[in-house]
């Protein structure tokens, strides 16, 4: 029974390592979005910003063509369905 528990623990560890490696780019995208420019360009990476900012979201949305682009993507996306 103990060896079974140990084996399950081993596979769980493999699963968690796989999860961390696979998800890291997704996490990095999210974490970067909330960092200040200084934190992004720093030589020592910041994992979670202590001073999260929404400025980048504001910048992204407040371009004159943002909603046109959203509309275009929605039209194309809803008229075709591709998995990749």
């Amino acid at each position: 029974m103990t060896s079974r528990v140990l084996r399950r623990g081993g596979w769980n560890a493999v699963g968690i390592v796989l999860f961390v490696v696979m998800v890291f780019p997704v996490f990095w995208m999210i974490s970067t979005a909330f960092k200040t420019d200084d934190q992004i360009n720093s030589l020592t990476p910041t994992w979670f910003s202590a001073t999260p900012t929404l400025r980048h979201f504001g910048d992204a949305i407040h371009t004159p063509f943002f909603w046109t682009d959203v509309k275009n993507s929605l039209i194309i996306g809803s008229s075709s369905s591709r998995s990749r």
């Binding site: 084996r7 399950r8 596979w11 769980n12 493999v14 699963g15 968690i16 796989l18 999860f19 696979m22 998800v23 890291f24 780019p25 997704v26 990095w28 995208m29 970067t32 992004i40 360009n41 720093s42 030589l43 020592t44 990476p45 998995s83 990749r84």
Partner: protein
């Protein structure tokens, strides 16, 4: 089946997140992560004592450039493959595995003689689809290696085609490259397609 339910849900949702990431977004994030000055990959590898990767330039050699592109494509393709195989595995009848175990088959033999034959059609489809999709891959290498570093020694077929048929507007050569690509893909997948047709005959 071998991991706890919570770990399974964690890994599956992680894979779906990766799957949901658009290609351009994925390339951009990978590009930040592998930046030679403040890329987090260099930092983590150095901190984990894998070696001294301080200001290591991943885009310096063709080998390293193509290695990165390979890693990116495998990372992006893994969720679909893993989730499909997982779904196929859950279709393996438990009674068959149990019967083989009662007959004294060791786990490895159960896998080879019971699980694998049931998985075979799915594996064949996955292999041929992966060849079809990834042979003509363009977005990832073109954006990740980038205009600055692209040169004929690190072209893939898709980039060569883009360069000749699109940028140089050489329609004749573009058409010829397209047909050659098609023939190569067909030649590579013919083996798998034949196997699939054979499996279909048996059923």
């Amino acid at each position: 089946m071998r991991v706890s339910g919570s770990v399974r849900i964690l890994v599956t949702s992680g894979l779906v997140l990766v799957w949901a990431m658009p290609q351009v977004v994925a390339v951009q994030v990978w590009y930040w992560m592998t930046n030679f000055q403040n890329g987090v990959v260099n930092y983590v590898l150095t901190e984990l004592h894998v070696g001294n990767y301080f200001q290591h330039d991943w885009y310096a050699t063709t080998f390293s450039q193509l290695g990165l592109v390979t890693a990116l494509i495998v990372w992006g393709a893994l969720p679909f493959v893993a989730i499909t195989i997982y779904a196929a595995l859950s279709q393996v009848p438990g009674e068959l595995v149990e019967a083989a175990e009662i007959d004294g088959a060791r786990p490895w033999r159960v896998f080879l003689d019971v699980t694998l034959p049931i998985l075979r059609p799915v594996l064949l489809i996955l292999t041929s689809l992966s060849i079809l999709w990834d042979f003509g891959v363009f977005t990832q290498p073109y954006l990740l290696i980038g205009q600055a570093h692209l040169n004929p020694s690190n072209y893939l077929m898709g980039i060569y085609l883009f360069e000749e048929g699109y940028l140089k507007a050489d329609y004749g050569r573009g058409a010829a490259i397209s047909i050659l690509m098609l023939l190569l893909v067909a030649a590579m997948s013919v083996f798998y397609v034949r196997r699939m047709v054979k499996i279909g005959d048996v059923d």
